[in-house]
Amino acid sequence: MTALAATRRTPRIDSTNGVWVALGITLIVGGILVATDGGSLFGQNSTVSLLQRAAGLGIVAVGQTFTILAGSLDLSVAYVISLTSLIAAETMAGSDGRVLPAILAVLAVSGAIGLVNGLLITKLRINAFIATLGVGLLIKGYLEQGYAGPAGQVPVSFQHLGYDRIGPIPVSFLLFIGVAAVAWVVLKRSRFGHHLIATGGDLDVARLSGVRTDWVLIRTHMICSLCAGIAGLYLASRLGAGAPRVGAEGGYDLESIAAVVLGGAVLAGGKGGVAGTVGGVLLLAVIDGIFNQLAVDPFFKQVVRGVVIVAAVAIYALRLRRKAVAA
């Protein structure tokens, strides 16, 4: 038995790293397809665009990873993004000196929305789907009532976030990677991360083990909203103004969930991770990029996206089942 204990496990290919395999294959196949079409998938401009597009969705998806791991979900992110982009742009009002207050205001508001989501779910026991949908509707109503289009203005200095790049890598993509790295550490290495995964794995077990599950869920939702707030900041910087429809039109709610699930997370909670989510986001972005290069009809693109999401999850599920049978 002691001999057995010493053996190390070989790393497994499972749902959380399967997405990277899929990403590799997609890059190769896509690269060839685009090349035969006479274009280049890896050209400077297309790479920049690809990474750029990944950044916004990526930041939201990292936040969504938290909620899904905790067995919850957040459908209000799209509206939080719109709202915070407006708060950012209106607070800045084109002046350099007000960038910091704007950032603080965005973080405060998005954190507060997360808090409300969390309280509704834990204290009033409203299912997360309905709670966040309801909060989303509230924010939507506010936006529609209060805004007739883009508003506010971001100073040029703040637009560096949206437009600058280091080599082929946009600053915003670095921001996404930074957010993902922090999230990775939090989930893997902090007590909160352990508690979050336990809460998502089995709420009762976590509670009976002394985890304050309510508090964990509240913090989880705050983090998710904060990520949406950061995405709102990024979009404000990219658009130069706040946009009341940018979140909903971007489909950030369902797409962020799709990215997380593509990354191998289990919707029921407790299983998945940031690395997978980053893979999921990149996979969606690469598919997008390929279709962009091939100038594929946007509607057909939608069909392919749907098929890819379902097929990927089906493959994960079948692998899991085969493993269970083999055990």
């Binding site: 401009n45 007739a148 883009p150 949206g162 437009y163 946009a243 940018v246 100038a295």
Partner: protein
């Protein structure tokens, strides 16, 4: 004597506050343009311009064939669909273009910004942009201006750098046309219901803002301003509710015609006479108008404007002068010219003011028979 009607009087469902989008100068300008005479070929409104001031484009002159690029906000509604077909067909008319590369932003602002960057890497000779929202695309368009001649149409951007900006007269003119029609046709004191698609879209906001000006000056009672999401069933429900509440509705104003048929049907289903109604140039409405002899008007936001940017691009690349801004005429369909536009062979949501009947592939490409 209707208790509901008296109850509603205090509800004061008037025209509400002025939209933050209302800009008096623009309004005045557009109202003035409605009576301006256009220069250009009479049978080709997409080549006409109102009060043109031409700019010199010699510095963009280069030898063909050209690589034309287009960053499209999206094709998410029939209006954009018809328009995009127009544009594709227009490109085919000109052998000077060796390629036409399109990036579709799927109504996402940030995607469109990336798309523009992406297109710039593909060796465009000229770039046409149909921005998803005004303002937000400004930085991206400014970047593009530095590299290629840029032509913006439909919605604008907050920069003067594009070579030209093409659009019809605009939302104020559109909204005013419908509202003025109602003030003419509905007896003073009559009930008018305003149906809007969505709040917060600039082109639609200006339409309502202008209508509001007209209604505020009139004797009409605006009993409600409702958002329909462009959904026919919801529109019908709303109109039915209003009919029940007020007994009669004498006029319907709309900021876009997509649900005009549904609104009219609600009267039919309730057994009430049709009101005076504002629609748009979509075939289903025009057909109903003709069949049921509606009292109607159809202001248009012509889809033929999608042809103009291609024409402009060619002129610019050839170094010819172009109007900047390029204001296109914005005709209104009335009883007098209705029969000219009704075409039973086209799909119900086809826009009659497409100026496309002479284009290659018509009518099949547009879904007609």
């Amino acid at each position: 004597g209707n208790p509901a009607a008296t109850a509603s009087a205090d509800a004061g469902a008037g025209t509400g506050e002025t939209s933050s989008f209302f800009v008096q100068a623009d309004y005045d300008n557009e109202i003035a343009l409605r009576t301006a005479t256009a220069s250009g070929p009479a049978d080709k409104p997409w080549e006409q311009a109102l009060n043109p001031t031409n700019v010199d484009t010699a510095k963009y002159k280069k030898a063909g064939p050209y690589n034309l690029c287009f960053s499209n906000a999206g094709v998410g509604n029939p209006w954009r669909q018809v328009g995009f077909k127009n544009m594709q067909a227009e490109v085919k008319l000109h052998p000077e273009f060796k390629s036409f590369q399109v990036a579709d932003a799927e109504s996402k602002d940030d995607k469109q910004i990336s798309d523009i960057n992406d297109l710039l890497g593909k060796g465009c000779d000229a770039l046409i942009v149909s921005p998803n929202t005004t303002a937000t695309l400004t930085p991206a368009v400014e970047q593009a201006c530095a590299k290629v001649p840029v032509i913006v149409f439909d919605r604008g951007v907050n920069t003067k750098c594009p070579v030209t900006f093409i659009n019809p007269i605009g939302g104020y003119a559109f909204g005013a046309a419908g509202a003025e029609f109602l003030t003419e046709k509905v007896k003073p004191g009559g009930n008018v219901l305003a149906l809007r698609i969505l709040p917060g879209v600039d082109v639609l906001e200006t339409r309502w803002a202008a209508a509001k000006v007209a209604f505020d000056k009139s004797q009409l009672k605006v009993v409600g301003v409702e958002f329909t999401d462009g959904d026919a069933a919801k529109t019908k429900t709303i109109v039915s509710n209003y009919l029940q509440r007020f007994g009669t509705i004498d006029g319907i104003w709309m900021d876009a015609g997509a649900t005009a048929v549904a609104a009219a049907e609600a009267f039919e289903d309730a057994g009430k006479p049709f009101p005076a109604i504002v629609g748009e140039d979509q075939q289903d409405f025009l057909r109903m108008w003709q069949d049921r002899k509606l009292t109607a008007v159809a202001p248009t936001y012509p889809t033929y404007q999608w042809r103009t940017p291609v024409i402009a691009a060619l002129k610019i690349l050839k170094g010819e002068q172009v109007p900047s801004p390029w204001k296109l005429p914005q005709p209104t369909i009335t009883d007098a010219n209705l029969s000219q536009y009704v075409d039973p062979s086209m799909p119900p949501l086809h826009y009659a003011m497409c100026g496309c009947s002479d284009l290659p592939g018509y009518p099949g490409e547009w879904g007609g028979k």
